[in-house]
């Protein structure tokens, strides 16, 4: 399990670096919104972790986003911890099929961005000064579903393979 946690954390670090290099203003940002790769990776990996490490992976991912982004420390950490917690609560439903996973990723994305916006506003960040803020809550969710189509099966395959190797050993 520890190796899986390490693998999940490694994926999260790669995702944070790719997020800041690939997406956002001046990079890939169709219709002025960009996906949240880190969130997709958190959702894809914490499904295969024990609850406590899963929450810590979510928290660490958010903290890294805060450290490399412009928001106060702890805002994304809060949002991503909630994402990890909600993913744990509904992970059994993921076996229902890809449509359920897509709906789940979309709902978690919207919830995370909304939570981040509300918390940020409470801490004086004025996120809601942007007239297009509603679009920034919803459109990334749609992009995340597209990203999840690639990331979730990949993470599933790798994490299951690692689990299988562990049981054989």
């Amino acid at each position: 399990m520890n190796r899986n946690v390490g693998f999940a954390l490694g994926l999260v670090i790669v995702a944070v670096i790719l997020q800041s290099a690939l997406f956002g203003e001046g990079r890939i940002q169709p219709f002025d919104a960009s996906p949240n790769l880190v969130l997709v990776v958190v959702v894809a990996t914490v499904r295969y972790l024990e609850p406590e490490p899963a929450l810590l992976v979510g928290f660490t991912a958010g903290l890294l986003m805060d450290l490399l982004g412009g928001s106060p420390l702890g805002l994304w950490a809060m949002a991503m911890t909630v994402v990890a917690f909600l993913t744990l609560r509904v992970r059994d439903r993921a076996d229902d099929g890809p449509f359920t996973v897509a709906v789940g990723v979309f709902a978690l994305s919207v919830a995370a961005h909304t939570l981040f916006g509300v918390l940020g506003t409470l801490f004086g960040q004025r996120f809601f000064a942007d007239p297009g803020v509603l679009r920034l809550m919803i459109v990334p969710g749609l992009y995340n579903v597209v990203l999840a189509a690639g990331v979730v099966p990949l993470a599933t395959r790798v994490m299951r393979a690692r689990d299988a190797r562990r049981w054989v050993a």
Partner: protein, 295 residues
Amino acid sequence: MLPSRRFERSTGLFVLLLVTSFLVTTFDVRADGAGVGDTLREGAQALFAPVQRLADSLTRPIVGFIDGVSNIAGLREENDRLAERVRGLEQEQAEVLSLQTQLDELRKINDLAPPDELDAVTARIFSNGVSDLDHIRWIDRGTDDGILVGQAVIDEAGLIGRVDFVADDSARIRLVSDPRLGVGVRDLATNEVGWVEGQGGDFLTLKMFNAVEPVHEGDLLVTDGTRFPPGITVGTVRETASAEVGFQLISSVVPAVNLSEADFVKVIVGWSPLDATQPVDEEQPARGNPLIIEQ
């Protein structure tokens, strides 16, 4: 279904992490750019900046390709717009030549030295924020190159933003589009002063508290020299507006800089807001525009 004891433990950890995050945010906001939060950011930058630069150099061609493909449809429209703009500029150029002659004469009359060239450090943007709600850029210059918090960042078109965090070899710029950044501006057409704030989107908000004259669409706004060096182009007024009695004037502004296309930037390291209030010494004039200092 998880065993109840396990679930209770994870719920406890969940609450603990939320409380920790909440406290961390509170301390970071209260510290306002100082304290443990910034130490952690410096550490993270020292660790991740080299990797981010590598990722930036690897992904730049991909981003450029995708950007190019997505822009093909808009190129014809852009071409027409630019042709129209060139015609307008040719007209303006003739007017500017006339004004330049007048300015030269005025300079001779007032015996004013031209403003000193401000020292600047050229830097390249290597990273964005991590979400659409982040209006920041990371540049590859830091304290080692003389960058300090509060310095203005410009490109050839005008003001990009302000340095709000510095590590040894990188710095974070808060863009003019960020709702938390305010810029004191002067309307060149009326000489009225006001305040421009980001909205997070494509346009900025202009507020003038004591304006007598209205602002007109197309008026050029430049920094007034309070927190940024004077005379830097900020943008143009988007809508004509006037102040009603007892109310402030509010309008919107098109930023001079296309923030999504900014790549190389200049950080002005040779100017401090304190310079704006220093008396002009004839032997050693203060940096900045002497016209503004005298006000």
